[in-house]
């Protein structure tokens, strides 16, 4: 299939990571009594953001490789038909 799953996964986790980390920066610290005093939104949001970015990079690289391979095979096809 033409859609590399790593792209939507990467985008989703980047968006959720940004939302959580941003909320963690600006939220009232009192809500973190539940998470043992740890700003879990900021920390985990950061982890998800990094994961999301890595997935986007991997997905893009694969798409670029596939496009390059398609162009190469098209080119080979054209030159082959030219020879015919």
């Amino acid at each position: 299939m033409g859609l590399d799953i790593r792209l939507p996964i990467g985008l989703l986790f980047s968006v959720i990571g940004l939302l959580l980390a941003g909320f963690g920066v600006f939220s009232d610290k009192g809500i973190y009594v539940r998470s043992l005093g740890f700003n879990v939104n900021m920390a985990w949001g950061g982890v998800l953001l990094v994961f999301g970015i890595i997935m986007v990079i991997l997905g893009n690289r694969r798409s670029a490789l596939r496009t390059h391979a398609q162009h190469s095979s098209d080119g080979a096809g054209h030159s082959a038909s030219g020879r015919r």
Binding site: M1, F13, L19, F23, S27, N41
Partner: protein
């Protein structure tokens, strides 16, 4: 439950992505093979993650957390004994026949190997089962949303009664699943299952880390709980000396062999994910790749249950009862079950409170997660429910279209017609699931009864496949007779036995009681053992007295008549035998560590 805007935004973003994947994939759905088989174009790692995620419905997540709280780390047997060996077996030995025979479904393999009637029996029972499973998933999700009071604030804002929560949950989940499956078919379901896998890890890993920090790590759990809860094999010599109430032979043979191999090796819901792989090699690697995360999942879904009971007793944040003041007598974070008519705790035969273990994971989420990450945890739960539904719906639309509609109702239609029928099957599969969800609210016993019947039908299946794939003498009449007699044996065994403390009825003993098992789990395992054994023996006996098929008709369908798959051009560490050895070795190691 105290959700704020950030939690709703996270759930909304997830829903948009799910629908977006369906929309993005719609343009690739040109033929029925694209819709039902994902064009056989999916990489092994994607199929592998979908392979376990299709099984990772919320009943699994909630149920394993509940079992972890109730039985302890012995629940890991459902993974390390009850899944990994079967996943290695299907990858190494069975996938060459499923993928190599070019069958489009498991029932179709049965037609190629045996005959039409065996395919029909399997297709009809499987299609019915998937619709009800999807409905049960929908029902469970709507009940959980109701219990967690997720929709209370929006409903109050709209001036609607709180009882509308159930209807909203069912309708919204049905619309989302319908939209993305009808648009992108199996690929859409697989992609969303992969998304769900990462969401579950993202939602549950911080929960486990926070919980472990709070209770003082694994050593803290061991200090708080009885030894039986922190060892998986101790006391397995007898059914009376371990929390599961089953001895080692019943566990290994019933769960580790019959039920586990019956599910992972023959259930089209999971096998379909491997059949969508881009090559034979990728299809064989699919279950083996899936086995790697599968074996560490106990740390994500069972451990929260153990942490919930290792914490000091406190009033649970979430309870299913109507009167919150009676929820004080909790076991850790687990509230007692409340009788809704009297508002008092439910007591067992000895007068002890019965705990509502299903609330272990929801209570852990509310206990440790502040707003923000609470939305992520809830999204992970909802994602697992919806993926469970979508997995069943995609398996249903394929079996309906190829094995029932094309086989019996409309044989020679165009490919475009079958593509259209697949989309229609998705619509009525979802409509039937909604009907099943509402049936469960009115007739809970009927759903229990149906699940029991499906268990009877499934238990003998692996004997049929094992003989069919590895003994060329097995005949179609024998397979059909074996399946029917195995199902009958399961029903008779269940009808003659009872779990301790149960009364005759849906739990067994409806033909009389000749044996009482220490637990319901032991009864289930032994029912499966009887069903499998009878099916195995009857199939062999009938095969000897009926005419076998010609050998040249069985090439590609039977082990001894099929060339071994060559993995010569595959890197050594990607070869199924190597991967299989690694996953079995790791599973053994985990069993030893938690012995």
């Amino acid at each position: 439950m105290g959700l704020t805007s950030i939690d709703w935004i996270i759930m909304g973003v997830y829903s948009l992505f799910v629908l977006g994947i369906g929309v993005a994939l719609k343009r690739y759905m040109k033929t029925s093979a694209d819709f039902f088989l994902a064009g056989r174009s999916i990489p092994a790692w994607v199929c592998g993650l979908a392979f376990i995620s299709a099984n990772l419905g919320a009943q699994e997540v909630i149920g394993m957390g509940a079992s972890g709280a109730k039985y302890g780390i012995a629940t890991s047997h459902f993974y390390w004994i009850g899944a990994i060996p079967a996943m290695a077996f299907v990858g190494i030995f069975m996938m060459p026949f499923y993928y190599g025979s070019r069958a489009r479904s498991v029932p179709e393999y049965l037609r190629l190997r045996f005959d039409e009637k065996t395919r029909g029996l399997n297709a009809i029972s499987f299609a019915t089962m998937t619709v009800f499973s999807s409905g049960i998933s929908m029902y469970a999700m709507a009940k959980l949303i109701q219990t967690l009071h997720v929709l209370d604030a929006p409903l109050k804002g709209l001036g609607l009664p709180l009882s509308a929560s159930f209807h909203f949950s069912v309708v919204i989940s049905a619309i989302i699943v319908l939209a993305y499956v009808i648009l992108g078919g199996l690929v859409s379901a697989i992609y969303n299952e992969v998304l769900q896998f990462f969401l579950i890890v993202a939602g549950f890993l911080p929960l486990v880390l926070l919980g472990l920090k709070d209770v003082g790590g694994w050593s803290g759990i061991k200090a708080q709980l009885p030894t039986a809860c922190t060892h998986s094999w101790q006391g397995m010599g007898s059914a009376h000396t371990n929390p599961l109430g089953v001895e080692w032979f019943g566990l290994v043979m019933g769960l580790g062999f019959v039920l586990s191999f019956g599910y992972w090796c023959t259930d089209f819901l999971v096998v379909q994910r491997a059949m969508a792989a881009e090559s034979m090699s990728a299809a064989r690697r699919t279950p083996l790749i899936a086995a790697l995360p599968k074996m560490v999942f106990p740390f994500l879904v069972i451990l929260p249950g153990l942490i919930a009971v290792a914490l000091p007793a406190q009033r649970a944040s979430v309870s299913s009862g109507v009167k919150s003041e009676v929820v004080a007598g909790s076991r850790g974070l687990i509230p007692p079950k409340i009788d809704n008519s009297s508002g008092l705790p439910v007591l067992d035969a000895n007068g002890n409170p019965v705990f509502d273990y299903d609330l272990a994971i929801p209570n852990m989420l509310v206990h440790y997660f502040p707003t923000g990450i609470l939305g992520l945890g809830l999204t992970a739960l909802l994602a697992s429910f919806m993926s469970g539904m979508a997995g069943n719906v995609t398996a249903f639309n394929t079996v309906w279209t190829y094995d029932i509609y094309q086989a019996y109702l409309h044989k020679d239609a165009s490919d475009q017609h079958y593509l259209w029928m697949g989309r229609m099957a998705t619509v009525f599969g979802i409509v039937l699931s909604v009907a099943a969800a509402y049936a469960a609210t009115r007739f809970n016993n009927i759903m229990d009864f149906l699940q029991l019947v499906f268990a009877f039908v499934n238990a003998p299946l692996f004997a049929t496949f094992l003989l069919g794939m590895f003994w060329k003498r097995t005949t179609g009449h024998a397979a059909f007779g074996g399946l029917l007699s195995g199902t009958a044996a399961a029903a008779i065994h269940q009808g003659l036995t009872l779990p301790a403390g149960a009364v005759p009825g849906i739990k067994g003993g409806w033909l009389g009681t000749v044996h009482v098992y220490p637990s319901e789990m032991a009864q289930n395992f032994w029912t499966a053992i009887w069903a499998w054994s009878v099916c195995f023996l009857v199939t062999i006996l009938v095969s000897f007295i009926t005419k076998p098929r010609k050998e040249d008709e069985l090439v590609g369908l039977v082990y001894s008549l099929t060339d071994r798959v060559s993995e010569g051009d595959v890197t050594w560490y990607k070869r199924p035998e190597v991967l299989g050895g690694v996953v079995l070795g790791l599973a053994l190691l985990l069993n030893v560590i938690f012995w």
